[in-house]
C-alpha cells in the first residue's frame, strides 16, 4: 500500500517535471526551418556527384581520358571515352557519363585521378521523376567548348 502511494506521488512529480521540459521547449525558438521556402547552407565538405574542374587559365578541363576513374569505381557507374582528333597527338575527352543511380559517393574516382580533374559538386538533395534525370553528362555539364 505504501509502495502504491509513493509511486503515485513520485510518478506525479516525474510527469510534472517532464511537462516542464516540454513547456520550456514550447517557449524556445524553433530549431527547424520551413524547408521548401528556406534552406540551410550546404557544409563545406559535402560530397555531391562528381564534376570536372575547369581551369581558369585555359578555360578547359584537365581530363586526359585515361579511364582510371571508370576502372576503379566500385559500382562501375562512370563511362569515359576519348577520341583522337585528326592530326592530333593526344586523346581528347569525347564522353564522360555518370550513372548517378548507382553511385555510392565513396570518392574513389576523385582520389585516383592522376591529374586531379575531378571534384565533388555541391548539388544537394537531388530528387527526380525519371531515371534519366540521374544519367549525368559530366562533360556537357562542365560546358567546355572545344
Amino acid at each position: 500500500m505504501n509502495q502504491y502511494f509513493s509511486d503515485l506521488l513520485n510518478g506525479a512529480r516525474s510527469l510534472i517535471e517532464g511537462f516542464g521540459v516540454t513547456l520550456k521547449a514550447l517557449l524556445s525558438p524553433p530549431v527547424t526551418v520551413q524547408y521548401p521556402r528556406e534552406t540551410i547552407p550546404v557544409s563545406a565538405g559535402y560530397r555531391g556527384h562528381i564534376e570536372l574542374i575547369i581551369d581558369e587559365e585555359s578555360g578547359s578541363h584537365r581530363c586526359i581520358s585515361c579511364g582510371t576513374c571508370a576502372r576503379t569505381c566500385p559500382s562501375r557507374c562512370i563511362e569515359v571515352k576519348g577520341e583522337k582528333p585528326e592530326g592530333g597527338k593526344r586523346k581528347e575527352l569525347a564522353r564522360f557519363q555518370l550513372d548517378f543511380t548507382r553511385c555510392s559517393l565513396c570518392g574513389t574516382c576523385v582520389e585516383v585521378c592522376p591529374v586531379t580533374a575531378l571534384r565533388f559538386s555541391r548539388v544537394y538533395g537531388q530528387a527526380g521523376y525519371t531515371r534519366e534525370e540521374f544519367m549525368i553528362d559530366v562533360l556537357k555539364r562542365a560546358g567546355v567548348q572545344k
Binding site: S14, L15, E17, G18, T22, S43, E111, V112
Partner: protein, 372 residues
Amino acid sequence: MQAGKKNKPIHYRYFLNMGPQHPSTHGVLRVVIGMYGEYVLSIEPIIGYGHRMHEKMGESRPWQAFLPNTARMDYACALPHQHAYVRAIERMTGVAVPERAEYLRVITTELNRVVSHLLWLGAFLLDLGAFTPILYTFDDREHILDILENVTGSRLTHCYFRAGGVVQDVDDSFEPAVRACIKRMRSRFEMYDKLVTKNIIFIKRTKDIGIIDRDMAVRYGVTGPVLRGSGIAHDIRKAEPYSVYPELDFDVPTGQNGDCYDRYLVRVEEMRQSLRIIEQALERMPGGDVRTKTPKKLNLPPGDVTSTTEGARGDVTYYVAGDGTETPYRLKVRSPCFSNLSLLEELCEDMLLADLIATMGSLDLVIPEVDR
C-alpha cells in the same frame, strides 16, 4: 505468468505477423508471434528480406571497392564497420597509419556512436509510445551529423577511412564545432534525465522487463550494450585495445539486472563516456599527415586476418583471407545484431505483446546489418 496457457484449446491461439513492414521492427524484419490473448507463446524472427550478399561482393572485386559497402550494413553507425575492415587490410598488407589519422578515426567513430545511440533513444521511446523525445534526440543528432558531414562528406553512409589513414584532414572549424557540441550534449543529458530516466511510465514499462541474465547473454554470444546491461564489462576497446584507445581514459558502464531499463542506462552512460573520449582525443591529437602513401595496386598476401572493433551495437568482426591478388579470397563479417536478435525466441516467451515491443526496442536492432 499464467501457467498452462499452452494446454488451452487450440482455437484460443492465433498467429500475429509483425512486419516485414512494421514501425517497431525498425527495418524489414518479420516476426511471427504465436499468441494467446495478449500473451506471447512463441516467437520466430524471419530474416533475409534485406540480404544483399555483401560478403560475396567483397570476394568478387578488389578490396578497395568494398569500402563503400561497409557503411551500408550498419547504416546508423557506419564507421566502426569501416574501421574494422581497414584495420584488417592494414594488418595484412603492413600499411602504417599516421597517429593523427588514428585520432581522427577515434573522434569520428565516437561521434558516430553518440549519433547511433541518440537515434536508438528516440526510436526506442517512440516504440514505447513517447513521441516527444525523438524530436529532441533528432535535434541533437543533426548537430553532430553536420560535423560528420563536413568531415566525411555524407550524413549517414560515411566512406571516410582508407587503408593507411583517412580521406582528408579536418578544417579549422572542426575542433570548436566538436567542443561546442560536447558542451551542448552535456546540458541535454540533464534534460533527458528529467524527461525520460525519472519518468514513471517509462520506468514501469522497462524495469524488470526482458531480463537477460549473464548466463543467457554468454550462451547467445550477445555483445555491446546488451551484454554490458547484463553486468558483464566486456568492451573491445578495453578487452582487445586497438587504435589509440589504450591512451584514453574512459569507463565501461554496466547494468545489474539486465532488463530494458539497464540497457537504457548503459547506452546513455556510454554517450557520456564517448564525449569524454572525444575531449581527450582532441587534446592529444598531434599534427602531421593523415594518410600514408600506398601503392596504387596493393595485393593481399596469402594468409588471413581478423579484426574486431566495438560498434554501437557490439563487436564488429571482419575476417579477410588473401591469396596474393587484390581481391580477397574470403571475406566474413560478424555483425552484433544477429546474435542480439537470436535470443529473442527464448527471452520473449510468456511475455505481454507490449513488453515484447519494449524488449525488441531495447536490443537496438538494425536489420540491414542482420541480413547483410
